[in-house]
Amino acid sequence: MRLRIRYTKLGRVRFISARDLGSVWERAIRRAEVPIAYSQGFTPHPKVSFPDALPVGHASTGEYAELTLTSEIDPGLVLARLSATLPTGMDITTYLVVADGSPRLAKYLQATLWETAWPAATADEAADLAHELRRRGDALMAADAVQVVRHRPKGDKVLDVRPPLVAVATSCQHADTGTPPNTTFATFRAVLRNDGPTIRPTDLVVALDSLGDMPLPEPRLYTRVAQGRIVDDGILEAFTQQVEPLDAGRQVEAA
C-alpha cells in the first residue's frame, strides 16, 4: 500500500534540515507503528520519500511525502497516530491512497505558491511596504529577465528569476498569534513553476530589492503555501483539488 501525504512544517521544526528530515520521520513512523516497508540491501532504509527539499528555516503548509507500507491499513487511523507523534509543527493535513500505476508524485506538483512575509510595527507601515512591493512586483512581471546573484560557499551563481515565475500578488495581513504576536505583515506571494532551474523565494526578494531605489527590509518568514497545478488565481492543490489563492488577502476575507 502506498500513501501520499501533505503535511506542515511550522514553528520550531522549520529548522530541521532536509538531511535530518528522514530520521525524524523514520522515528515517528516507528513510534506510530506504521507498517513501513524497508529497502533491501545491507543498510535497509524505510521507504519514505520527499519530492523536494525545503530550505532550512522556511515554513511550509505544502510539504509532501510518499510512504510505502507492507500491509493494508486504515490510513485515517494510522496517519492520525503518526501526525500526533511527529514533532509539534509537523501535522499531516491530507492524504491520498496511491493507485497502482499512478504517475510519480512530482508530476502532480507542477508549481509552488510561495509567500514571503515582512512584519511591520504599524498597519500603516505594512500598507506602505505592501504598496512598494506591489510596484516592484509589477516591474518584475513586466521584465523579460531579472538576474540575481545567489551567494554560495562554493562561489556565486547568477540566475534569471523570470522564466519559472508565473504570477505575483501583494497584500497586508494581520496575525493575532505567532511570533511576534499581534503583528501586521506585508506579504508577497508568487507562483513558481517547479520544472526547470530552481528559483527560491530568497532569489525573488533579491530581484525585488534590485527593482527599486531603497533596499527592502529583511523578510521575517518564507512559507511554501501549497503545490499543485497552475490555475488563473493561484494553485490547484494536488491532493484536495482546492484553490490556494495567489491573493492572500482574499483568503483572509473568506476565512
Binding site: 530520521s23 523514520e26 516507528r30 532550512v56 514533532p87 506602505d128 506585508a186
Partner: protein
Amino acid sequence: MCAATLTIPSHFDADLAAIRRPHDPQVPPSYWDVLEPVLPKVSQPAQYVGGEHNMSVTPWASARTRWLLCYPDTYAIGQPNQGIQILYELLNERATSLAERAYAPWFDLEEEMRARGIPTFSLEHHYPLWAFDVFGVTLPHELGHTNLLNLLDLGGVPIRSDERNLDHPIVLAGGHAAFNPEPLAPFLDAVVMGDGEEAVLEIDDVLATAKTDRVEGRLTSRVELLERLSGVTGVYVPSFYEPRYAPDGRLRATVATHPGTLPRVPKRTVQDLEDFPYPQKQIVPMTETVHERFSVEIFRGCTRGCRFCQAGMITRPVRERRPETIQKLVTEGVKDTGFEEVGLLSLSSADHADIGDIARNLADTYEGTTTSLSLPSTRVDAFNVTLSNELARNGRRTGLTFAPEAGSERMRAVINKMVSEEDMLRTAEIAFANGWRNVKMYFMVGLPTERDEDVEAIAQLGIKVYEIAQKHGRGNKATVSVGGFVPKPHTPFQWAAQDTPEEIQRKLDLVLEIIKPYKGLRLRTNDPQEGVIEGLLARGDRRVAPVVERAWRLGATFDGWHESDTLPYWHRAIADSGLSLEELSHHERDEHEAFPWDHLDAGLDKQWLWDDWVDSIAEKPLDDCRWIPCYDCGVCPGLDIAHDTGYTNPETRGPTLPIINSGPAAGPLGGSPDLPTSAARLDGDA
C-alpha cells in the same frame, strides 16, 4: 525599515527576586522571538530550537525550584549524555521542580547572541540562564572548562562565585572531571561528587526550603545557602576550603576553613541501580548527534583495575542492573522513542554477569526487525565476538573495536590491562572468520616506564592483526588508533609524569614509520598538543584557575575542537601566571606530595593507590576483585557500599553461573573460540 523592533529584556532590568520566588513567581522573558530571526543565519539551527520528542515542558509558575542542566559543549556532543538525561527526568518527575537544558552555542551563534544581547538560554522555553535557581553543569572531561565560563558570562551570571548573591543561580558541577574541580574552584558554588541521582534530589529539597526561607526572611545570605548545600552528603563547596602551600610553592594540603565543614568530602554512590531505572523518556534529537540511540546503562563501576582509567577508579564498586530491568527499559524505550539502535552502556559491557542472556534475549526480541543493538566498551576476547555476532544478527558485520591499550606484554602488565597478545590475535582470527571486516584497536603512548620497544610493539601488533585480516579477505581492514596518555586524579597513575607533546609526537612517528608499508592498516592519531590542556586541568590546583580565566578571556572556548585552536591562548595564560607545565604536568610526583584532590574522597585509599603505582612500576598485575578476595582499595568499607553483581552476591541475585578466574594464571580472559551465545566465559574452562 518596517521590521518590528523587539525590546530585549535583560537581567539588569528584571525583578530577579520576583522571578525566583517559589510561589507566584514572575515569569522570565523567553528569548525565542529574538533568537528565531537569527537562526537561519547559523549552522545547524535545529540544535537551538528544542521541541524534541520527550522534551519536558513545565510552566515556570508551577514549579518551586528551577534547574538549568547543561553539558558545556555543542548539542551534538552533549545531548546524548546519560547523566543529564537521568537528572532531567528525575527532576521533572517531581511536581515541585522543573529542569530545562542548555548547551554551548557554536561560534556563529555566539557572535549573534553577543551582538543582540541574547543570553545563554534553555531549549524548552528559551528562558535565560540568569533566571534559574541552579545551573547544573556536567564536567565529563576537562575540555569544557572554558565553555563553562563562557556560558556563565553569556548567561548574565558573574563568573566568580564570590561575586554572586542570592539573586544569582547556584553554579553546581558534577561528572568525572568534577573529582578535581580545583582549577574551577573560584567559579563553582558547589560540586557533587559521584552519582547524582540521590544527591540532586536532596539538593532540590534543600533549595526548596531555602527559597521559602528567603521569602520569609529566614535566609539572608548566599553563604548560608552554601552552608545548607554543603550539608548534603557528597556536596563540596570550594569556597569553604583553602589550599595551603609550602614555602617552596608546593601544595601542602587543602583544608576546611569554614566552621562545620568536613575535612574530606565523600563521593555519593547509588548502591542499587534498580532504584533508578533512568533515563526512560529519552530525548529524540531532530538533528544529528554523536550517539542517536536508546541507551541503557547495564552496570555502573568497573574493577578491572586498569591503572590509567579514572572512570574505573572513581565509580567503584560494580553495580549491575538486573537483566529483566534492562530488557524492560530497552523494549519500552525503543517503542517510546522510535530509535533504530540500542546501546548497552557501561565501562566494560561484556563484564555484566548475565550479559549472555541479556544479549540473547534482546537479539531474540529484535530478530528480523530493523532495530540494531550495540555494545560499546568491550573486552579483547572471543566471548566478545560471540556477543557481537549475537547483537549483529540483523545487520552487517562491519567493525569491531578492541582496546588492548598498550602494545607489549610488559606495558600491559604495567597498566594492568590483562590482555595477552595471544588473546588479541585469537580474537582477531575469530572476528574475521565470523565475517567481521574491520577490527579497530585502541592504544596509548606516553605510559609510565614506556620504552621505544613498547611503542614499536603497538605497530607490530597492528601488523599481525592486519595480516590475519588479509588472510580472511583482501578487503578486510585493521585500524590502529593511538592517543597520548594523560594522567588523571584518583588513579595509581596520578603520580606519573605526562609526556610532552613533542615526545608523544616522536612516539606516534615511530608507529607510523613501521606500519607505513601496510596499505590497508590505518593509523589514527590525535594532535598530541590536545593533551596539554587536558593534563593541565586534570591535575591542576587552584593556581590554575586564573589560567583558565585568562585563557578564556583571551578567546579560548571549545578547547577539544579542531575548529578552535586555543593552545596559543593557553600558553600565553600559563606564561602570564608564572606556572610551568614542566612542574604541573611533565614531572613525576613524590610519594608524599599533596594532591589538590586529597580532600575529595572517591573512597580510594591513597596508600593503596601508591602501592598499586609501585606494583605497576614492578610490572605486577592485579586481578579484578569481583573474582579474587578484597585487596582493600578502600572504597567499599570506607563508603559502606559493596559490589552488587551476579558474581559477588549470588545469594541475593538468584541463580548464576560459576565463576572462573581470569588473568594470565587462569589462561586468557574469556573462554574459548567456539563459545556459544551464553556467557560461556563463566562456564568453566571450555
